[in-house]
Amino acid sequence: MTKLAVALAVLVLVLAAAADADEAPISGTVKAVDGAAQTLTLNVTAKGKTREVVVHMKPGAKVVKFTRATEPGKTGFVEQEVALADVKPGWIVSATTKHEGNREVAEVVNVVLER
């Protein structure tokens, strides 16, 4: 019985690791925004190759940018949500995306630079 429990625990760990492995950080320049489809098309470069990656926004996902805290006595940055429709081509963004089926799905997209 103990051996079975150990084997099951190992199996759970492996499956958890596999689930975690489906996540990967990504950054790139926004090429297009599709509000209807809730997608961002990014130009992403890695290992010498540039390709387009379509990031699908998960239901309830948000785009955030970081601004300086304005409250007295507070320093650092605060998160500020941005509507997907307000994201402009040329902005640099990053996200941690999950591979679901053939799609890259994000829950949060961070704005690195607006330009």
């Binding site: 199996l11 950054s27 790139g28 890695a46 999950k98 630079l113």
Partner: protein, 421 residues
Amino acid sequence: MRTRPAWIIGGAAVMLAFGAWIVMPTVGRADPNGETHEDDKGGHAHVPAPLEYADAHVPLSVWTDTAMIARGKEIYATKCAVCHGDAGDGKGPAGVALPLKPPDLRDKAGVAEMRDNYWFWRVSEGGQAEPFKAKGSAMPPWKADLSVKDRWAVMAYQHTFSGHSGPHVPSEHPESVQVGRDIYAMACVMCHGADGKGDGSVGGTLAPRRAPQPRDFTQSEFKFRSTPSGRLPTTADLFRTVTEGVRASGGPLTFGLRGYRIMPAFRHMPEAQRLELIEYVKSLNSAFWTRLGTSTEPRSIETIKIPPSPPPTPERIVRGKQLYADAECLACHGERGRGDGPSAPTLKDNRQLPIEATDLTKPARFKNGSRPEDLYRTLMTGLAGTPMPSYGDALEPEQAWDLVYYVLSLSGDRRRAADAR
């Protein structure tokens, strides 16, 4: 039944290995091509700044100028801290999710290895420059948004994170030129000496008791430059010399060098290594930094502009012949350009060593190159430390081209003069 525990342990090990394999980043997913985020130091990579940024050194006083550092702090807070973090730890809120993490600027060793021109290049071009672009750097280029002084200010402020308080130069951080020093030790030390004073054990035997002798890098006299007379060369000038070598007659020890050279051409050395080598050579002479002025009064490096070469017409060559006589070129180079002018036997360099007047009928032996633009540059800058003067103040560009094409015509290869365009 007694083997069951072994089976379970073995099975668990296989499953763990399988899990580890899955956890490893794979190719072709959200992180294209499987970027492995190998850089704990973020986007920092040990590559030399490219030639166009190689002279972008920072005036020494920038690093300790409190006004500059304060200005840098303001800019950093608004433009950089979101990724690099308020503390310079590379953990700004927008930086933590990046595939290629910003470097930790508090890392003394990592910062010490970054040369100032590399730093300026990174701030200016961001992740748009290779190899950072290929690694997927999200760093924006700031050259369009920040003036040169503002970029210096940001660097000066970032520099404070490392805890180093002096100027960020190779004399303070010898590790920043370690690669170049190693290359120098293998390729240059025999002639130029351990301290770069041109006193290597072999150097003096290449052309015994006569010029040319190996360059003393600790002095500010360099023959082959695109800068006005009396100035230090640009990095591109040094790169050209390292790449092409130096043509001149030498003693028996130079017989193995190809193409009538006294200094070998290092064109087969990878470009990055040549740049590293030159960074070390520059580190031997602080004048490469002091020539840039101060944070409040910066000076740019003046170079001779070489206009596009005009057509080598017969009229131009006739005019060049007259200039050749008027400028008294024939006193050293001789009437037919064979290096046998009346002054030739008495010529000495600034070390009082006998020096040959170049035989202008043999372009392959021109020390500073034989392309029309090479001759133009030689005429306008002169060759420091030799009797060859600068004609930069005496000749108009058109006149210089006349003289260039006349000199090329002396080789008897008129097609070369014509094709040289």
